[in-house]
Every structure is written in structure tokens, then in C-alpha cells.
């Protein structure tokens, strides 16, 4: 190699080329578009106020907690559709365990026991997927029905109802509940949990060996195994993490409402996947970003809350969500192709 050709090769890489390598790029563009749209449409009716901002941030936070974990699982090449039912199970479980008429355990213990239950469900999901070799889509779809059905059956057996309420007094007395319901610097706890979970998981993904294994397990499980990545361990850990995220979300909801509902969390599995996909995650695994999933959650929340401030009928929310998903995936696909073009 001559000195001259080396110099020529070492030319700085353009900012645009660097940006193209970021999976979040498409979602940032989407965020700007959506925010501008609602700022123009509803800026005068309260969307831009602090209260409006708080509104969509709280919605984004709840979805974002779930989407951060779901994004990691998707990057590792797996799905978890049972995460929605897991929210309901976790909510009912901790409500029953803590309820004065039933378990009457301290709140903290009820939450910990529920977390233990969730982690075992996550482990079972992972074990079944890896053991049977079936697509996780099918296995967790089955688990979604099993958990939802068992939750209703079990709750009715014990309480004759599908709602466990009457926790308000206990929550008011327990300082632990404050961790999930309080506010800090004017922002609700959920938002801080979201930022924390997103920060930690993004750090794990990008700055730890385990994160590299997540990309490897999803990119090509066989290839990753051949170079020594413990693919099974990675995937099972992430199934458990997803169940843990569902438990955190359930805790925030139960502490906030003072009650639990068997239907809690329904539909969240697809919203979380939508957020992850808008944020640049590939359905086939091996590519994506936790921050992107967070931005995806923020976009969905802005659409959901922003529409209230406009005079558009709320029924159109889902149409906009669908449009967002389609647009984001097409854009992300195009950007990824650009980034994969040989640079010479």
C-alpha cells in the first residue's frame, strides 16, 4: 500500500454516512414530523403547554418501559406476545397478595413475589421457545391466551369479580408506593422509571459484551454460537427481562389506581412491538435500538394524546398509528439499504 492511497482511504467519513448507521434516524425524523404536525394543529388548544407535555410523557413512559425490553428481545430475534397478559397477571397478583382481605402482605413483598412469578413465566417462555424450536410468535401467542384465561379464572375463583380494588389505604400508608406514584422535578415517577430503564438497557446493548451477544443472537444464532456466544442464555434472560418490564408497568398502574383489573395491559404487546419497529428494530432480529424504541413510544403517545387537543375525532387514532408504522418501516428500510451500500 502506498502512502498516497492510504491517505485517500483515510478520508473522514461524512456526517450523513455516520448518521445512516444509526437505527434511530428514521424515528427521529418521524418524531419531528409528528410533533410539528400537532404543534401546528393543536398548539393553541393546549398541546404545547406543560400539562399537555406531561400528559403525553406519562403515556410514553408506560409504553416506553415495555418497549425498551421488547426492543432488546426483538434485536435478539424473538417476540413476546404474552407480555400484555403478563401485565394483567402481575397486576392481579400483587393486588391480591397485598390486599387486606386476601394476602395482606406488605406492598414491597407483594411486588417482589410478583416479580418472582413474572421471571418464572419469562423463563418458561424462553425455555419453551428454545426447547421446541418453534417460533416465539406462536409459543408466546399461546402463552398470551393461557395467562389471560388463567388470570380471569383464578381471579373470579378467589374474588368472584374481575377487579381487585380497595388498595388505596394501604398504598397511601406505604412509602414504597411513593417510588411509583410520586413526582420529581414536576415529572411523574413513571417518566423517571422510563428514562432509567431506557438508559440502562441502551447502555447494556451498546456498551457491554452482553449487548454484543444480543446483536449476535438475533443476527445469526448459529454463527453467534459458533464463535462462543451463549445464545440460549441471552434469549432466556431477555424473555425474563420482558416479563420484569411488564411487572414494573403493572406496579406503576396498580399503585396509581389503587386497583387491578384482569384486562389490564391488553393490546400493549402490539403497541410495544410497533414502538420498537418505528424505532428501527428489524422484525427478523439483529438490528435495532433501545433509544429508538423509546422515541417510537413517544411518537405513539404524542399521536394518542395530541389528537385529543385537535378537533379530529378520537376514532381516527388507530388509522394514524397504522400510517405511522407503515411509513416508519418503509423509511427505516430505505435508510438501512443506503447504509449498506458499499462505500468506496
Amino acid at each position: 500500500m502506498t502512502a498516497q492511497s492510504r491517505d485517500e482511504r483515510l478520508q473522514p467519513i461524512g456526517l450523513w454516512q455516520r448518521l445512516l448507521l444509526r437505527p434511530e434516524l428514521g424515528s427521529i425524523a418521524g418524531l419531528i414530523v409528528v410533533f410539528t404536525f400537532f404543534a401546528l394543529m393543536a398548539g393553541s388548544s393546549g398541546f404545547l403547554t406543560w400539562a399537555g407535555t406531561r400528559n403525553y410523557l406519562e403515556v410514553a413512559a408506560q409504553l416506553g418501559i415495555l418497549a425498551s425490553a421488547v426492543a432488546l428481545l426483538m434485536i435478539a430475534g424473538e417476540f413476546d406476545l404474552s407480555v400484555s397478559s403478563m401485565i394483567g397477571v402481575a397486576a392481579i397478583s400483587m393486588a391480591l397478595l397485598a390486599h387486606p382481605d386476601y394476602g395482606n402482605l406488605p406492598l414491597g413483598l407483594a411486588i417482589l413475589l410478583t416479580l418472582g412469578l413474572a421471571l418464572s413465566v419469562g423463563y418458561l417462555n424462553g425455555y419453551l421457545v428454545l426447547r421446541t424450536g418453534l417460533p416465539s410468535f406462536i409459543v408466546t401467542l399461546a402463552m398470551m391466551f393461557i395467562l389471560a384465561g388463567a388470570n380471569i379464572g383464578f381471579t373470579k375463583l378467589i374474588t368472584k369479580l374481575t377487579i381487585v380494588s380497595g388498595l388505596n389505604e394501604k398504598i397511601a400508608q406505604d412509602p414504597i408506593a411513593h417510588l411509583f406514584t410520586g413526582t420529581l422535578l414536576g415529572l411523574p415517577a413513571a417518566v423517571w422509571w422510563w428514562l432509567g430503564v431506557m438508559g440502562v438497557l441502551s447502555f447494556v446493548l451498546l456498551r457491554t459484551p452482553f449487548g454484543n451477544w444480543i446483536f449476535g443472537a438475533g443476527g445469526d444464532a448459529n454463527a453467534a454460537r459458533n464463535v462462543g456466544v451463549p445464545v440460549h442464555r441471552v434469549k432466556i434472560t431477555l424473555f425474563m427481562l420482558t416479563a420484569a418490564a411488564a411487572t414494573l408497568l403493572a406496579t406503576i398502574q396498580v399503585m396509581g389506581l389503587g386497583s387491578a383489573n384482569v384486562l389490564q395491559g391488553q393490546g400493549k404487546e402490539l403497541e410495544a412491538i410497533a414502538a420498537a419497529v418505528i424505532g428501527g428494530c428489524l422484525l427478523t432480529g439483529g438490528y435495532g435500538s433501545v433509544i429508538g424504541a423509546g422515541i417510537g413510544a413517544l411518537i405513539l403517545a404524542i399521536v394518542q394524546q395530541g389528537i385529543i387537543y385537535t378537533n379530529i375525532d378520537l376514532d381516527w387514532f388507530k388509522v394514524m398509528v397504522g400510517g405511522m408504522i407503515l411509513g416508519a418501516v418503509i423509511l427505516n428500510n430505505h435508510l438501512r439499504k443506503l447504509s449498506m451500500q458499499v462505500r468506496r
Partner: protein
């Protein structure tokens, strides 16, 4: 001199299927040992046995004279046997440096945490690629932007960097064009000159002949034996790969059919005519 790795009477069965039968093979440091054979000859099973994916049903593997059992690919890797598979074990969407260090990530202590040392990974990946003559501009670029030959080179550079003693290359040139193949063959020789034992699996005799020191030919799960470059010719290797005697037998058979043909044809013609005769 003790061989780096030696197989003695290694057999591998999958249920009733005999994939390998009584294979003997020795690979020395600083040689390119070519493993030749047609499709289904047992090459893949043999390298999977060497790299810890399969365990032999019978026989024993020795490393530097000591009997060894590889429990997993990770185990074999830890003992210095690196395998570059045909599918490359490269993740196209992942950056070059992350691919380079996948499974053996460099770590840096920050307070109580061990974190992935991205700067070190990027620097080493670039340096190691430069050593084998590929100047990558940006170690963060996805592997998918590299050509097939360059990807093979990344895989080889990775194995060498991680101190492999034995480098197993599974059909590294089969999907490549002429120039790219030449590039990969060059790295094979470089790895050999660094004192590695290279096992080069191919069904291209010309590529094998260009870089090989010794040749082992497999056919239907059995070995025809190992030959030095001075003991055999390219044509003989080709003959053995195709199952030499079988080819001769086939030639005889083809000849017989050709000779029998005129009479058979006449008989068939007559039979056909009789069928069409009006009653």
C-alpha cells in the same frame, strides 16, 4: 515432530448412517493441509468433529500428543482451534469491529462495571485488517458493505488475532470469483507462514494445489489417505475425489450400454411396430 492435531481411527455415525469411518489424519504447524472430497464425502462432518460441534462416535483426537475431547465449539476454540465456516459466522448488519470481537469482547473497567471497549475493538480490528493488506476506512461500517473475499479475510484475521493454532477453513473460495479467491489463498499462505496449522477444505483441486503441502482425500466417509505434494499429482487427486475406481467402472458401464444399444433399439422398434399393426 508431534502433529498439532491428530485423528486416529475417528468414526462418526448418525443413527444407521456412517458419516465417517476410521479417519486418520495429522496436521502439523506451518503446513496447509487440504481436505478434498466431493459433496457428501464427509468433509463437513469431519470439520464439525474437529471444531467441537460433534463428538466422534469412535476413535480419538490428539492435540500436541495429548488426547482431547471437545465438548463444544467454545471448548475447541479455547484450545486454539478456530473454524471459519462457509457461511462465515459474520453478521452483515453488525459493524466490522463488533463482528471481529463477537463472543470475545474486550472489556474496560469503569468504576465497578466492566464495559465493552469499543475504541480498543475499533483500533485492533483496523490494525489486524491492515496486517493482511486490507485498509478499512471505518471499523464501524457494517460487514455487509464488504465483498465476499474481504469478509473471509476478516474471519481469518480474527482467528489469527485470537491466537488460533489450528485454522479450519470450510470452502473459503467456493463462492468467490478468481481475484477474490487469489486474495483468500494469499491469506491462507500468510497464516501458514505465521506457524499455524491450516486445514483447507475445498473441492477445487486447483486452489488446493496452489497452496497445499499435504492432501487428504475423503470419499463416502472414508479416507484415501494423506499424500505429500511430491507423492501425488493434481490429476490423481481429481481422480480420487470423484471416487477414481467408480469413475472407471462407470466408463465400462457406459461403454456396455453404447455397445448393447443397436440391438436393444432394434428389438424395441420391432415390439412397437407389432403393437401398431392393425388386427
Amino acid at each position: 515432530m508431534t502433529p498439532l492435531i491428530e485423528l486416529r481411527k475417528v468414526s462418526k455415525y448418525f443413527g444407521p448412517v456412517v458419516s465417517l469411518k476410521d479417519i486418520d489424519m495429522k496436521v502439523y504447524a506451518g503446513e496447509v493441509h487440504c481436505l478434498l472430497g466431493d459433496n457428501g464425502a464427509g468433509k463437513s462432518t469431519l470439520i464439525k468433529t474437529l471444531s467441537g460441534v460433534h463428538q466422534p462416535s469412535e476413535g480419538q483426537i490428539y492435540m500436541e500428543g495429548q488426547p482431547v475431547v471437545f465438548k463444544s465449539p467454545r471448548d475447541a476454540l479455547a484450545r486454539g482451534i478456530a473454524t471459519v465456516y462457509q457461511d462465515l459466522a459474520m453478521l452483515p448488519l453488525m459493524s466490522i469491529s463488533r463482528n471481529f470481537f463477537l463472543g470475545r469482547e474486550p472489556q474496560r473497567k469503569v468504576g465497578p462495571f466492566s464495559i465493552y471497549d469499543a475504541a480498543f475493538a475499533a483500533r485492533v480490528a483496523r490494525e489486524e485488517m491492515k496486517k493482511i493488506g486490507i485498509d478499512i476506512r471505518d471499523p464501524d461500517q457494517p460487514v455487509g458493505t464488504l465483498s465476499g473475499g474481504e469478509r473471509q479475510s476478516v474471519a481469518i484475521a480474527r482467528a489469527v488475532y485470537f491466537g488460533a493454532k489450528v485454522l479450519i477453513l470450510d470452502e473459503p473460495t467456493s463462492a468467490l470469483g478468481v481475484k477474490e479467491s487469489a486474495m483468500v489463498l494469499k491469506y491462507i499462505v500468510q497464516a501458514k507462514l505465521r506457524g499455524l496449522g491450516v486445514i483447507f477444505i475445498t473441492h477445487n483441486v486447483h486452489h488446493a494445489w496452489a497452496v497445499g503441502d499435504t492432501f487428504t482425500v475423503l470419499n463416502r466417509g472414508k479416507s484415501y489417505g494423506t499424500f505429500g505434494k511430491n507423492q501425488v499429482t493434481r490429476e490423481q487427486l481429481l481422480q480420487m475425489m470423484a471416487g477414481g475406481e467408480e469413475l472407471e467402472a462407470l466408463a465400462v458401464e457406459l461403454d456396455l450400454i453404447a455397445r448393447k444399444d443397436p440391438s436393444t433399439a432394434a428389438a424395441e422398434h420391432q415390439a412397437a411396430e407389432e403393437l401398431h399393426k392393425p388386427n
